[in-house]
């Protein structure tokens, strides 16, 4: 009887709903990963055996390796620059009064909800007028804008919980401003800084739209994948997609674990 009661109390409908939503979120990705190991070029069921041939193909393709290199450069640069700009700005925002803080955060968040397509064409126009042309650097400059809001959000959330009395105490005990920053503020915000840097790297590695309009000949990995999409049935796309997915989800996963430890 008791077992029956527990069975009745278990919210089966809720569990089913959550499972379906998660299935819906992850199934497309699982399909790409699955077919990247398919022995046959056909992307349809029934599945005809496993093979690593598509990985062999992409990891011996110089064009693709170059694109991977460009994507890596873009990710690291975006991560570093965003983390520095975001941390400095986050520390600056703390010094503002509530009203100014709200206003600054509001403006800082605009790029997050502004449509990427419209920003990308704006950048294209801008680069054309400046006469600097399209390049990987041009793309990175735009990707930094796109990830800054996320970084700022994570860092200011951490700083909001930060007890500034700690610094006051250190200063009262004779520590210099820089010394107090290095020994107190930095260790406390460092996990958030690193976490948001990884997030920015993930955003950059996965970014397609700004790269499409501003990278020119410097094709990143997503652009390479897109180029193959339109040509013909090319099963190596699954392998490229899987590499891309593993890189971005690993970064996002570590980042989310680092930054959400306290909030979880």
């Amino acid at each position: 009887m008791r077992r029956l009661a527990r069975w009745r109390r278990t919210p089966w409908a809720s569990i089913l709903y959550v499972a379906l939503v998660l299935l819906f979120l992850f199934v497309p990705l699982a399909i790409v990963v699955l077919f990247s190991f398919h022995a046959s070029p056909r992307m349809a069921f029934p599945f005809q055996g496993f093979s690593l041939r598509w990985y062999e193909e992409i990891f011996t393709d110089v064009e693709i390796l170059r694109a991977m290199g460009r994507s890596a450069i873009a990710a690291v640069t975006t991560g570093l620059v965003t983390a520095i700009l975001g941390t400095l700005a986050g520390l600056g925002i703390v010094g503002l009064n509530a009203r100014a803080k709200g206003a600054v955060m509001f403006f800082a968040m605009i790029p997050m909800s502004f449509p990427a397509l419209l920003y990308a064409i704006g950048l294209a126009v801008y680069y054309r007028e400046l006469g600097v042309g399209f390049s990987l650097g041009a793309t990175i400059a735009g990707q930094i804008i796109q990830s800054l809001p996320f970084v700022l959000l994570v860092i200011s959330a951490t700083l909001d919980r930060f007890r500034f009395s700690l610094i006051e105490a250190a200063r009262d005990l004779g520590a210099g401003a820089f010394h107090a920053f290095r020994t107190i503020t930095l260790p406390i915000i460092l996990p958030a800084v690193l976490g948001s840097m990884l997030l920015a790297m993930a955003l950059s590695a996965d970014e397609f739209i700004v790269a499409f309009f501003t990278a020119g000949q410097d094709k990143t990995l997503p652009l390479m994948m897109y180029g193959r999409l339109n040509v013909k049935l090319d099963p190596s796309i699954n392998a490229i997609g899987t590499v891309l997915l593993v890189a971005t989800s690993a970064l996002a996963f570590i980042s989310a674990r680092r930054t959400s430890k306290e909030s979880l």
Binding site: L25, P46, G92, D206
Partner: protein, 281 residues
């Protein structure tokens, strides 16, 4: 400790300069460009309203705008509904596991933009995975029309990519409504669904509205999903804008279409916010 004003200004300066130079300036220039003239495959600073006349009066573009707003509204609404119930269930019913269930959504938000669209492209289609799987198991004998590429495929793929973006604000808003408030409603005779509708929805309405607005804006400027998943009859205004910046090579017209889209979105969403605010009161 009183923060030093000069230090604060210096800390804010780099990001502010960067924002102005690489976000503000490009968007201002986009507006400026929408008044340029296209001549002999060049864009010259000769003030004209022709681009806007074309963007606003041409039946072709009106069709694109109407279709875009319809598809985006359907997608954003579906995301708000699915996201509301997902947030509700993980916040209250499966409370013990909410951290993990939220974390999974968070992780799925980053990564896989192009990969997802590509995956849906392989799933849909007459010979796609969905039809081939159903046919090989003998459930159907002919490919289903619904599972071919088209508006349905576009909407499904966009819900798939933007759902986490919708769950985020709704979940955040719900964290302010304790489970006690729902129990109270149920004790007073509300059904489970009734409690969700009468107690949680009004309190989380801000989050739901933000979710709708975010996803509506994002999908209204989509271009890759309709391009890869739809036929010529399913293309959205983003495709026209991208086309003018590509093969069409009429950047000023593309800019005018972009500015028009922003204005239309601002007016629509502004009106919506006003209505919601009145409703909450």
């Amino acid at each position: 400790m009183k923060p030093n004003r000069i230090v604060t200004a210096l800390q804010l300066a780099p990001a502010s300069v960067y924002y102005s130079a690489l976000f503000g300036a490009p968007l201002i220039l986009l507006v400026v460009y929408s008044f340029y003239t296209t001549e002999n495959f060049d864009f010259i600073p000769q003030f004209t309203l022709d681009n806007y006349v074309t963007a606003w009066t041409s039946d072709v573009y009106r069709t694109y705008f109407a279709r875009t707003l319809r598809i985006s509204a359907i997608t954003a609404l579906a995301i708000a509904v699915v996201g509301f119930f997902y947030s509700y269930v993980i916040t209250y019913t499966l409370r013990a596991h909410r951290a993990v269930l939220y974390f999974l959504v968070l992780v799925s938000m980053f990564g896989g933009y192009l990969v997802r669209i590509y995956a849906w492209r392989s799933i849909f289609g007459a010979e796609g995975i969905a039809n081939s799987a159903l046919m090989s198991t003998g459930i159907i004998s002919e490919p289903l029309d619904l599972l071919r590429n088209g508006e349905f495929a576009i909407v499904v793929a966009m819900i798939n990519f933007y759902l986490p973006l919708g769950i985020l604000p709704i979940y955040a808003a719900m964290q302010n409504v304790g489970p006690g408030q729902i129990e109270a409603a149920q004790d007073l005779g509300s059904s489970r669904l009734g409690a969700a509708g009468k107690v949680v929805l009004p309190l989380a309405l801000r989050g739901v509205t933000v979710a709708f607005v975010f996803t509506f804006i994002a999908t209204a400027a989509e271009w890759l999903t309709p391009q890869l998943l739809g036929g010529t009859e399913d293309q959205m205004i983003g495709n026209r804008i991208a086309y003018q910046f590509g093969a069409g090579f009429d950047w000023p017209l593309g800019s005018a279409l972009a500015v028009t889209l922003v204005v239309v979105l601002a007016l629509l969403l502004g009106a919506m916010f006003t209505l919601v605010r009145r409703w909450i009161r």
